[in-house]
C-alpha cells in the first residue's frame, strides 16, 4: 500500500450503522421505556383512550344537576336522539372518507340538492310519485359522489379542494331548483318514514344507528375495511401490497354521497321547511364529532363507534347549554371549541400520524 496515511484511526468497530438504524433504535428505546412502567401508565392509557366516552356521562350528570326538571327527562333524551339523526348519518359517512385519508366537504351541498330534487319533482307540475322522485334524487347524489371521485382519483386533485367546490356548486343548483325558496316536504311517504317513533325516538335515529353498525362491522371484520385503513395510513405500501387503492377511494366518495342523500331525506321528512343551504351548518359539527371519535375507542384511528360517541357528546353538550338558556350563540362556541380541542387531542394521542390527515 503506497498511500500516505496522514491521520489514521485504528479502531474500527464491527457494528453496522446507518442513519436508519439510528432512527429505529430511538423508536425501540422509546417503546421500551413505555413498556417499562406498567401499573399507573395502564390506567393513564385507559383514561386517554376512554376520555371522550367518559365525558358523555359526565356531561349528562352535570346538566342533570344544573337543570333537573328540564334536562333530566325521557322526552329530552328522545328529542336529542331524534334531532341528531342527521348528524349521525353525515358523520358516519365522513368517518369512512377520513379513514382512507380523504376529505369530503360536499355533504352539506349533496344533502340540500337531494332534498331540493325531491321537492321539485313532486311539486312544480311534475307531479311525480314519491318513490320515483326519491330514486332520482338518489341517483343525483351518486352522480355527485362519482364526480368527486373522478376529480380526486382520476385527475388527482386534492379532495379537500374538489369537495369544497362541489359542496358550493350543489348548494347553488339546489337553490336554483327550488327558486331560492324555503319549501316544505310534499311527500307523505317521507313524512311517515321520518317522523314515526319507536320507544319515543324518531326512526331516523335507528337508520343512523344501523349505518353506524354496518360501517363499524366493515371496518373491523371485513377485508375491505382493513384495506381502507391501509389506504389511509400508507397508500403507497397498500398499492405495492396489491390492494385496490383507487377502487376503495372511489367507494368512500360514493358512500359519503349516499349518507348525505339519506340525511337530506331525513331532514326533508323531519322538518316542515327546508332549503338547499340547510346542510351547510353541519360542516363543523360533523368534523368535530369525527375527530372526537378519532381520539377514543380505537384511539388514533377514525372509527365508527368513536364517531357515534362524538356525536352524542356534541348533542348532549349543545342541548344542555340551550336548556340552561345560555344565549344561542353558545352552541357555535361549543361546537367550534370542541372541534379544536378534539383535533388537538387527536394530535397528541395520534402522535405524528395526524400530520398526514391535515
Amino acid at each position: 500500500m503506497n498511500a500516505s496515511v496522514e491521520n489514521a484511526s485504528p479502531a474500527i468497530g464491527d457494528s453496522l450503522m446507518t442513519g436508519e438504524a439510528g432512527k429505529s433504535e430511538v423508536i425501540a428505546s422509546k417503546s421500551n421505556k413505555a413498556g417499562g412502567d406498567t401499573g399507573s401508565s395502564a390506567s393513564r392509557t385507559f383514561l386517554r383512550r376512554y376520555f371522550v366516552v367518559l365525558l358523555l356521562p359526565a356531561l349528562l350528570i352535570l346538566f342533570s344537576i344544573l337543570a333537573p326538571s328540564t334536562f333530566l327527562t325521557a322526552y329530552n333524551f328522545q328529542t336529542i336522539l331524534t334531532t341528531n339523526a342527521v348528524l349521525i348519518i353525515l358523520a358516519i359517512g365522513e368517518t369512512a372518507v377520513l379513514v382512507t385519508g380523504e376529505f369530503d366537504f360536499s355533504f352539506g351541498g349533496t344533502l340540500g340538492l337531494s332534498a331540493a330534487i325531491v321537492v321539485m319533482l313532486i311539486t312544480d307540475n311534475h307531479g311525480m310519485s314519491s318513490f320515483v322522485a326519491i330514486g332520482i334524487s338518489f341517483l343525483a347524489a351518486l352522480l355527485v359522489g362519482a364526480l368527486n371521485a373522478y376529480f380526486v382519483v382520476k385527475l388527482k386533485v386534492k379532495s379537500f379542494i374538489v369537495t369544497l367546490g362541489m359542496g358550493t356548486l350543489t348548494t347553488g343548483i339546489g337553490l336554483g331548483l327550488t327558486g331560492s325558496q324555503t319549501v316544505s316536504n310534499p311527500s307523505q311517504f317521507l313524512k311517515n318514514a321520518m317522523t314515526k317513533h319507536v320507544l319515543g325516538v324518531g326512526l331516523p335515529f335507528y337508520y343512523g344507528l344501523i349505518i353506524v353498525i354496518v360501517v363499524w362491522f366493515v371496518l373491523e371484520y371485513v377485508k375491505t375495511g382493513r384495506n381502507m385503513y391501509f389506504v389511509g395510513e400508507g397508500r403507497k405500501a397498500a398499492f405495492l401490497a396489491g390492494i385496490h387503492v383507487n377502487r376503495i377511494r372511489v367507494g368512500v366518495f360514493l358512500l359519503s354521497a349516499i349518507t348525505s342523500w339519506l340525511a337530506g331525506m331525513v331532514m326533508l321528512g323531519q322538518t316542515t321547511a327546508v332549503d338547499a343551504t340547510y346542510g351547510g351548518p353541519y360542516l363543523l359539527p360533523v368534523f368535530a364529532a369525527v375527530f372526537l371519535g378519532f381520539t377514543t375507542i380505537r384511539s388514533g384511528r377514525f372509527n365508527a363507534l368513536g364517531t357515534l360517541v362524538g356525536v352524542l357528546v356534541l348533542a348532549v353538550g349543545s342541548t344542555g347549554l340551550e336548556i340552561l338558556s345560555v344565549a344561542s350563540w353558545i352552541t357555535q362556541v361549543f361546537d367550534g371549541g370542541v372541534l379544536i380541542v378534539a383535533v388537538g387531542l387527536a394530535n397528541v394521542l395520534g402522535g405524528e400520524r395526524i400530520d398526514s390527515w391535515m
Binding site: 498511500a3 474500527i12 457494528s15 425501540a28
Partner: protein, 535 residues
C-alpha cells in the same frame, strides 16, 4: 486569524441518535484552497457530517474551527449565515415550480426605495451570476423546466453568492468553503465533466475551498487533491489522491481499508460471521430439478436501458450496482408500480401482461419494498395487520374476518422469526428496525410465494437480525422458492446470494456465480470503467 490555520478543522465530533452513534470522535482537517473529497460507504457518517455542518443536526460534542476561528453550531444556514460555509445538498434545494430568479435571489432580494423588489435588477443580477458559471437560462424560466445540470449549477451559484455576501466583511477574500453533497448524482453522465470543470474553476479563480462528498471514485480521482475516508463514524485516514490506486480508493469507498480487503482476497474468505451460503450439495441438488420462476427479457424503463436475467427455483439472486445505475428500479419495474417501456417479464411461465402489483401478486410472487417507513410497512398499524396486509383471504370466511385465527397465525410466525416482544397487536413503530424487517419478511413467508423480491432487505438493521433474515431466506429458497435481493450492501450479497447480477449505466455489466461472488468482485464490476456491454 493565522494564515496557516486550516480552512476547516473538526475535533472529536460526536453525534448520537438514541443508542446509535453516527459519529464517534471524528477529527479532520481541510486545508485552505484545496478540493477535498469525503468518501465512505452508507452509514459511514459522511451524511451526518454534512448535516452537522449544514446545521440540520447539532452534535453532542466536538469542536469546529473555520480558518482558525472557533465556531458555534449550527455552522451554516442560508438566512443568517455568519460563517463562510455553504452547502449544496444532494437534492439541490430549489423549488421547481418557481422561477430561476425567485430561487436564486430568495432571501437576498434588494429592496428599492418604495420597499418593493426591483425585478428587472434582480433578473439582471441573476443572469450575470449564472452566466459566470456558464448557465445560459432565462431568469424567468421555471426551475423544473431546466436540465438537471443547470439546476445543480444554479444551486452552486447561489451558494457562491451567499459566501460572497458573508465574506464582504472578512479581511480574507478567499476564506470560504463550499460543500458539495453528491452533486453529480442527478446529472446525466455527459454533463459531469463540464460540471467538474466548473468546480475546478471556482476553486482556482476564487480560491474557494471545496469539500465534495461522492460515491464516484472517478470524480474523487479527477477532482480532489486529498480525500478523507470515513467508516463507522470515524476517520479511516486522509490520503493524497495522487498516491492512491483506483482499486484502493474503491475499497475505501466501500468502507474497507486495503489491508482488510487484501487479506480477504488472499484467503479467499467470503463474508464474515453468519455466512449461510449453500453447500455444494445443496446447489447441485437444486440445479437438478430447477424450474424457471422468473425470466426478464429486454427490460427497459426507469433508469434501465436493457436487461435480461433469469431466476430458477431454489436460488437466491442479488441485483446490485452503484446508486443510479438502474438496479434500484428492478423491483418496481417487475411488480409494475413503475411503468416499463419495453421488454417482457415471465413469472413462473405466465407472461405478465398488465403490469401492476395485484397482477404480480396473483402469479404467486411477492414484493417487499425497501422503505419500512413508507412503502413496505404501515408504521402505525400493528404487526398483525402489517403481516397480513394484502393477504386477508385465508382469514376471511364468508366475508367476515376471523381475528383469532389471524392473530394465531401471526403470533406463530412471530415466534418462528423470533420477533420480540411476541405481541401481534403492538404497532410496528414500537419495534426496532431489525424486528420490523423480520415482521415484514413474515408477510412474504405467510403467502408461501414462489418468487420473493426484496428491496434492500437489511438496510439499517443490526447484524443479528441480518443473519436471522439470511437464514430465513435460505430456508425459503431450499423449499423451492426463489428470492431476488435488490441491494447495494455489497458486503452482504456474498453472504447470501448464489448469483449476483451487476448493473452499470442501466445495463447489466456482469454476473457472478458461486465462488466468484465476493465483495471485491462486485465492487470491481460496479466501478470498472468498462464500456457498456453492447447488445
Amino acid at each position: 486569524m493565522s494564515e496557516t490555520s486550516p480552512a476547516l478543522k473538526v475535533e472529536d465530533l460526536e453525534m448520537r441518535f438514541g443508542a446509535v452513534t453516527a459519529l464517534s470522535g471524528l477529527s479532520l482537517a481541510i486545508e485552505r484552497g484545496e478540493i477535498h473529497g469525503i468518501v465512505g460507504h452508507n452509514g459511514s457518517g459522511k451524511s451526518t457530517f454534512v448535516e452537522i455542518l449544514s446545521g440540520t443536526h447539532l452534535p453532542n460534542s466536538g469542536k469546529l474551527e473555520l480558518f482558525g476561528n472557533p465556531v458555534s453550531f449550527p455552522a451554516a444556514s442560508r438566512d443568517k449565515g455568519k460563517y463562510p460555509l455553504a452547502v449544496v445538498h444532494q437534492d439541490v434545494g430549489l423549488v421547481g415550480s418557481m422561477s430561476v430568479v425567485d430561487n436564486f435571489r430568495v432571501n437576498r432580494f434588494k429592496r428599492s426605495r418604495g420597499g418593493t423588489v426591483s425585478w428587472a435588477q434582480e433578473r439582471k443580477i441573476t443572469r450575470e451570476r449564472l452566466l459566470a458559471l456558464g448557465v445560459d437560462v432565462d431568469p424567468r424560466a421555471l426551475v423544473e423546466e431546466l436540465s438537471a445540470a443547470d439546476q445543480v449549477l444554479i444551486s452552486v451559484a447561489r451558494a457562491l453568492m451567499d459566501l460572497e455576501a458573508i465574506r464582504e466583511n472578512a479581511d480574507q477574500k478567499d476564506e470560504a468553503i463550499l460543500i458539495l453533497d453528491e452533486p453529480t448524482s442527478s446529472l446525466p453522465s455527459g454533463t459531469v465533466d463540464s460540471f467538474l470543470d466548473t468546480i475546478r474553476a471556482v476553486n482556482n479563480d476564487l480560491g474557494t475551498t471545496v469539500i465534495i462528498i461522492s460515491h464516484n471514485p472517478r470524480e474523487i480521482m479527477s477532482l480532489s487533491r486529498r480525500f478523507s475516508a470515513l467508516k463507522n463514524g470515524r476517520l479511516v485516514g486522509t490520503y493524497l489522491t495522487g498516491e492512491v490506486s483506483y482499486p484502493e480508493l474503491a475499497a475505501l469507498m466501500a468502507g474497507r481499508n486495503e489491508g482488510e480487503l487484501e487479506e480477504e482476497i488472499k484467503t479467499g474468505e467470503r463474508g464474515r460471521s453468519g455466512t449461510v451460503s449453500p453447500t455444494s450439495k445443496d446447489v447441485s441438488q437444486a440445479k437438478a430439478n430447477r424450474v424457471e420462476l422468473l425470466r426478464v427479457e429486454g427490460l427497459q424503463g426507469g433508469r434501465i436501458e436493457n436487461a435480461d436475467f433469469t431466476l430458477y427455483s431454489g436460488e437466491i439472486v442479488g441485483i446490485t450496482g452503484l446508486l443510479g445505475s438502474g438496479y434500484e428500479d428492478v423491483p418496481y419495474l417487475l411488480c409494475g408500480s413503475q411503468p416499463k417501456q419495453g421488454g417482457s417479464i415471465v413469472v413462473d411461465g405466465t407472461v405478465l401482461q398488465k403490469a401492476n402489483p395485484r397482477m404480480f401478486k396473483s402469479l404467486g410472487a411477492v414484493l417487499l419494498p425497501g422503505d419500512r417507513q413508507l412503502t413496505s410497512g404501515i408504521q402505525a398499524a400493528s404487526v398483525r395487520e402489517n403481516m397480513t396486509m394484502g393477504y386477508l383471504a385465508p382469514f376471511s370466511r364468508k366475508g367476515m374476518l376471523n381475528h383469532k385465527s389471524e392473530r394465531d397465525v401471526v403470533s406463530k410466525m412471530m415466534g418462528k422469526l423470533r420477533i420480540r416482544p411476541q405481541n401481534p397487536e403492538r404497532p410496528l413503530n414500537e419495534f426496532s428496525g431489525g424486528q420490523q424487517q423480520k415482521a415484514l419478511i413474515g408477510r412474504c413467508l405467510l403467502r408461501s410465494a414462489k418468487l420473493i423480491v426484496i428491496d434492500e432487505p437489511c438496510t439499517g438493521i443490526d447484524v443479528g437480525a441480518r443473519d436471522e433474515i439470511h437464514r430465513t431466506l435460505r430456508e425459503v429458497s431450499t423449499g423451492g422458492s426463489s428470492v431476488l435481493i435488490v441491494s447495494c450492501q455489497y458486503e452482504e450479497l456474498p453472504m447470501i446470494c448464489d448469483r449476483v447480477v451487476v448493473f452499470q449505466g442501466g445495463r447489466i455489466v456482469g454476473e457472478l456465480a458461486g465462488q466468484e461472488v465476493t465483495e471485491e468482485a462486485i465492487l470491481r464490476l460496479c466501478y470498472t470503467d468498462s464500456p457498456v456491454v453492447s447488445t
